[in-house]
């Protein structure tokens, strides 16, 4: 059992982070903490993607070395797939990181608007003010 957990530890780490983020988004009463939870949640997804590109057994970064590796002079290098990690998930995550940062930026701007309006970022107090003013 322990071996099973350790051998798939990347998935466990991402699931735990995902749940921490989800808990913060749903359970926390402070809007900034919700936002931090959202960041943890997105980071968990990013880590998941990064970990699925990795290969065991000394695989390294996929840098194309041109003809230096071409053993028999066919012109094109023969690429041994097993010796390189899969770069695609990593490239996808560059986009996802940008998306995550943009979301955080928009959310922070919205939080400023909320604070200007209600003078607080606590969920219960905002809901109370909204009830009182009948919104």
């Amino acid at each position: 059992m322990l071996e099973y957990i350790v051998s798939k530890y990347n998935f466990w780490v991402y699931v735990i982070l995902l749940l921490i983020g989800l808990y913060a988004m749903v359970g926390k009463k402070n809007l900034v903490k919700k936002l931090i939870g959202m960041n943890i949640f997105q980071s968990a997804v990013i880590l998941f993607y990064v970990s699925i590109g990795v290969k065991k057994g000394g695989a390294t970064v996929p840098i194309f070395l041109g003809n230096a590796h071409a053993a028999h002079g066919h012109g094109n290098a023969i690429i041994d797939v097993a010796s390189y990690i899969n770069p695609l998930p990593h490239v996808l995550m560059l986009t996802a990181i940008v998306v995550s940062i943009a979301t955080t930026g928009v959310a922070l701007a919205v939080l400023i608007l909320i604070f200007r309006r209600y003078k607080t970022l606590e969920l219960d107090e905002i809901i109370k003010i909204r009830k009182d003013t009948g919104v």
């Binding site: 959202m38 949640f41 997105q42 998930p89 998306v99 959310a107």
Partner: protein, 497 residues
Amino acid sequence: MATQFAALVIVIPLIAALFVPVIGWWKKGLCHPWVVAVLVVPLIASLSILNRVIESGPFSYYLGGWAPPWGIEYAIDYLNAFVLVIISVISLIVSIYSKKSVEKEMPEKVVPFYTLFLLLVTGLLGIVVTGDLFNVFVFLEIAALSCYALMAIGRDGAPFATFRYIIMGTIGASFYLLGVGYLYIITGSLNMLDVAQRLPEFYHSRVVLTAGVFMIVGIGLKMALYPLHAWAPNAYADAPSTVSGLVAPLMTKVAAYMMIRIMFTVFKPVFFIEIIPVTTILTWMAAVAVIVGSIYAIAQNDLKKMLSYSVVAQIGYIALGIGLANRSGLTGAVLHILNEAFTKGCVFLVAGAIIYKTGSCNITGFKDLYRKMPFTMTAFLIGAFSMVGIPPTCGFFSKMYLIIGSIDAKQWVFVAVLLTSSILNVIYFFRVIKIAAFEDVIPDYSRTSPYITYRLDEVPISMLIPILIMAAGILVCGIFSPEIINTVIQHIIPASF
């Protein structure tokens, strides 16, 4: 040429969005004509795409000439082309409408508004046109981010509603992304058609099950499907009227398109029907959505809030059609995407027009609106008829197909639900119409004449014409719905149904 249009439909509004700040810096008044002119291009492009698909069948465009599965493929079939036309038509109409409304509601934010408006349209078009799973996520977030920013400009309470939407929307998008990740683990591909080909042999793998569930829950969140709908009503109701006029008809429907795409293209229908019973769960959730959404709508005193709950109910119709997973049900669902776009567009634009004239959209204050704004309120009446499902408005036909689909599936509960919801729609729409048409302001008896003279007090012509076009669209879609089904929708239904 039509293959290039598949790319132009995205590229033109995207580049044009970047030019809006430049134009606004030069002359603020030019932003609106620029946006309208730009949005004509996707309309022409999507019409010629649809034309090409009808004439010679599905085609694809390879971005940068990279062949799939390595490059990004824009795979166009009947469903894509159909939804593309809907999005470009609605966004063009709303962009014409936006001028006066934006000038009144946010005079100092015209330039950022139009930039975000074009980005939102780009995102929506992109979700639909692309054939790449990760590309869908990117466009989904482009649409969502510009949508958050636009919604937060709205009336008091909008930022708070938007923040909830940001949280829920991000969970939805992240779940979708996780699903894509799992599919990538097992197939090594991100191209929808390629994944669809490689996937069937793994259907009993837990990885694929996880992927399917994550994707459906994520899209369900974006779609505001019943238990996941909590963010939608406030966010839609508090947004500026132009934004709710664009987002309410399109955003959730594009998510519905994604659901159809994932369930019937990326996965074979058998996966979600037999291997995991998602369709069964979906139909029941949808049935609850229809009833609960309608009941909440009855309880609202604010027109926009009422319509927003109605969005939740109407999404239930589409989900019900998808979940029934038979020919009539899915026909009804796809037809309802079109009908909802026009109907919700029409009634939300009317709500915006009422706000423009009276400054509020509290239903109790609607007395005498039929005398003051006869054209606008006639459009509202047509929208209400379509919502209830009175022929020849288009709402009748999609409901008819959904009911036929429920009968085909021998699900009598859903027949009852659909008919009940029509009655609930009557209650909440005709309440508005009753106040607006039949309740007089207390007459002033001190005057000599017993009759009150009413002054025609319509909205500006640039707002009125888009509203009337929407209303006409409802009727046209209704009258021509057999043709629409024969030429387009029947090709969308998977062969196994």
